[in-house]
């Protein structure tokens, strides 16, 4: 269902203002979405004044600085801080990305940080991705082969291997799926760019023997064809992959086989 407005319990209110205490001249305002599941309150935007003279270059550094020096109660996911694990995916100044690879010098004006869009919030910047993981499971993301010979390698030509470039690099951070308006309105049924890119990764793998079954499985009005080439996904991908192109390739394969 297309629901443009947020439900009443999700309306965002003005929160607290944390004034700078360091006396720094290089101050930047950072607005962060906060919601505490232990209190029966609406989400709010807290504003922090951050001393940028003593802050490293990425948005995640700002969050760490706030958590360490200003407000330890703030919650967000992070792990590798090198753009490999995909934990710190969030919405920064209106665009999804990884906080650990996004330089704050690229963002203009005050910095606005929200959780990934259109998810149930668990706490502060942490959204619930369980629907996406279930959909990922549904495409059976593993190699299906009748070759039970464990003694030798399962070889692939260089050309066949190259077909996986731009697909295997996906870290499943969900930046693309949660940037997609189609996924916002039909997230329960439409698989979304992240899962469809993974589906294509197994469809195109020369070693996989169930290409036909995989194609038939995604060939569904809602699962696949809700992609309307809005290209928010490709714009959002922090690994510079192209989920929209992968979805188009699946559509093309279905139309030509």
């Amino acid at each position: 269902m297309v629901q443009i407005n947020l439900p009443p319990n999700s309306k965002v209110l003005q929160g607290d203002y944390y004034k700078d205490k360091t006396g720094s001249k290089n101050i930047r305002k950072v607005n962060i979405y906060r919601w505490d599941p232990s209190k029966n309150e609406n989400p709010r935007i807290d504003t922090y004044e951050v001393d940028m003279d003593n802050c490293s270059s990425k948005v995640l550094d700002i969050l760490n600085k706030i958590k360490n020096e200003i407000d330890p109660s703030i919650a967000y996911r992070r792990s590798c801080s090198h753009g490999v694990c995909g934990s710190c995916a969030m919405n920064m100044n209106g665009k999804n990305g990884l906080a650990c690879t996004k330089s704050h010098s690229e963002l203009e004006g005050d910095i606005n940080i929200y959780p990934l869009p259109h998810l149930k919030v668990l706490k502060d910047l942490i959204g619930d991705l369980s629907t996406l993981y279930k959909q990922y499971e549904s495409i059976e993301p593993w190699l299906k082969s009748s070759n039970k010979n464990n003694e030798t390698e399962n070889l692939q030509s260089i050309e066949d291997r190259e077909k996986l470039d731009g697909l295997y690099e996906c870290i499943m951070c969900a930046c693309c799926s949660t940037s997609c308006p189609s996924y916002w309105w039909n997230g329960e049924k439409y698989l979304g760019p992240a899962v469809l890119l993974q589906a294509y990764r197994w469809i195109i793998d020369s070693r996989d023997e169930e290409r036909k079954e995989r194609l038939q499985k995604v060939a569904d009005e809602l699962k696949l064809y809700r992609c309307h080439t809005i290209l928010n996904c490709t714009n959002a991908c922090p690994k510079d992959l192209n989920p929209a192109k992968a979805i188009a390739e699946i559509k093309k394969m279905l139309a030509t086989t």
Binding site: Y114, H118, W184, T229, N232, N235, K245, A248
Partner: protein
């Protein structure tokens, strides 16, 4: 999921770019075009009822508001046609690179205005 956790903001905060703007405008002009085609059919049907109907519609279309409406309709059609061509090319698998999609999107936007002027001049 039926829990009481809030839904994170989506369309309220997400920034627009060329491709998403073209996509939403394509939908809006599509709806407008359906209404307009219905209107044109009704107008053509009303001609069967006699000359006075024709005169009334002609008078309306010659007025300032009528001209504004005609130009709006021409733009809506122009935009729809160009965006549709872009869609067709994408269905063939072309134009998914960020740079290409941005350029093709801008071509649709500016092209729709050029096509509008072109069609209006030919029509009048």
């Amino acid at each position: 999921m039926d829990n009481n956790n809030p839904l994170s903001p989506h369309i309220q905060i997400y920034s627009w770019h060329i491709s998403s703007l073209v996509s939403i405008s394509h939908r809006i002009t599509g709806i407008i075009n359906i209404l307009v085609i219905t209107l044109i059919c009704l107008w053509v049907a009303s001609l069967l009822l006699g000359e006075t109907n024709y005169e009334i519609i002609k008078f309306f279309l010659k007025s300032f508001f009528g001209k504004f409406l005609v130009i709006g309709i021409i733009w809506s059609f122009s935009f729809q046609i160009l965006a549709e061509i872009r869609h067709l090319l994408m269905d063939l698998g072309y134009g998914f690179e960020l740079r290409t999609s941005k350029i093709s999107g801008l071509m649709v936007i500016f092209g729709s205005f050029i096509l509008t002027v072109f069609i209006y001049i030919i029509g009048s």
